[in-house]
Amino acid sequence: MPLKPTLEQDPWGATFNAHIETSINLDGTLKDSAINSAATTINAALNAKYDATVVDGLINAEATSRIAEVDNRGIDFTFGPFFVNDVPANLSTPAGLPYFNTATALSQDTTGIRIWRAGRVVGIVISSDADVTAGTAVARIRITGTTFSALTATLSTTNPRSNSAFSVSSGSTFTTGSYIGANVVTSSDFAPITMNAQIYLILRLDDF
């Protein structure tokens, strides 16, 4: 049976595995000479493919590709505070952004801000100027008029003054061109209704 070295290809196209099919003569001569000869041939091929420089180049190329993903990562930004004064019970209330209406006087407006890039809410923070004594007040993101409960922060008697939630995967996503705002949703037994609250949203835009 003739000597038959074969080479297999790995996913990168580099030769990495050698098989040698041969027969062994009773006197053993074919085994020694043929196998050594085949091994020399195969190692030469391996040398051409798996030179340290080549390996280093492959690693570098992969790492460069990955680092480019980091450089092009989406922007994180914190948006707020959105305000609700005198948080009512049993209601979903849009939180307003403050505007200077004159040089010194303020007004509020609840129109969301238009974000011209898709993304996800990755954090939400609520803070108030009084302790919750009953019920709950839940901060939610509002996306083009609809509130979502995928990632929320709740004031209750457990967290009476401030709370927050962060996740890079469980928050609601939004598409480019969406209007982003915040709501406070309260239970029917929420108190005190003289409490004032503010909300921050942390958004992560999609990678570039």
Binding site: N43, Y50, I59, I75, Y99, F100, I113, R114
Partner: protein, 165 residues
């Protein structure tokens, strides 16, 4: 007897990968910080002007005042996002928000209220925005052209990405 060279040794390859990955991970850990500044306010947008937008300050427990002095950034960086929003729909003209670097407005990356985006607009780019050096003062400007209504109040947000550490 022919033997495989050491360069094929899994330990050698593993060491190469480990060193490279450790280097790259360090790069990720030291990546620049994204900072959002704002809101910067302009009340009663004039029809045609270039006006520095202001930060709001409490000058008593219940009353506010405005000042357009910029924020001193002690690290170099680049503008990567700009947002403008108003409390009334634009009726005519444009109101364009831009970064102000040590007093000079830059038009490199802007967000405008116009016929297409009457109430709010935003722009994001990792490469188009103005850069700034460590120690410069960052603020916002709004440039209006034939803008109405002049009773509209606006606010601007800037997101900057600081240079890698």
């Amino acid at each position: 007897m022919v033997t495989s060279p050491d360069i094929y040794d899994a330990v050698v390859v593993d060491a190469l990968i480990t060193a490279e990955v450790a280097s790259r991970i360090a790069g990720i850990a030291n990546r620049g910080i994204d900072v959002t500044l704002g809101p910067f306010y302009v009340n009663d947008l004039p029809a045609s002007t270039s006006r520095a937008a202001s930060l709001g300050y409490f000058d008593s427990p219940t009353t506010l005042t405005q000042n357009s002095y910029g924020v001193k950034m002690r690290r170099a960086g680049r503008l990567v996002g700009i947002m403008i929003i108003a409390d009334a729909d634009r009726v005519s003209g444009t109101a364009t928000a831009m970064i102000r670097v040590s007093g000079s407005p830059s038009t490199a990356m802007t967000a405008a209220l116009d016929g297409s985006n009457k109430r709010s607009n935003s722009v994001f780019s990792l490469s188009d925005g103005a850069t700034f050096a460590a120690g410069q003062f960052i603020g916002a400007n709004i440039v209006t052209a034939d803008f109405a209504p002049v009773t509209a109040n606006a606010q601007v947000w800037l997101t900057v990405r600081l240079d890698d550490f």
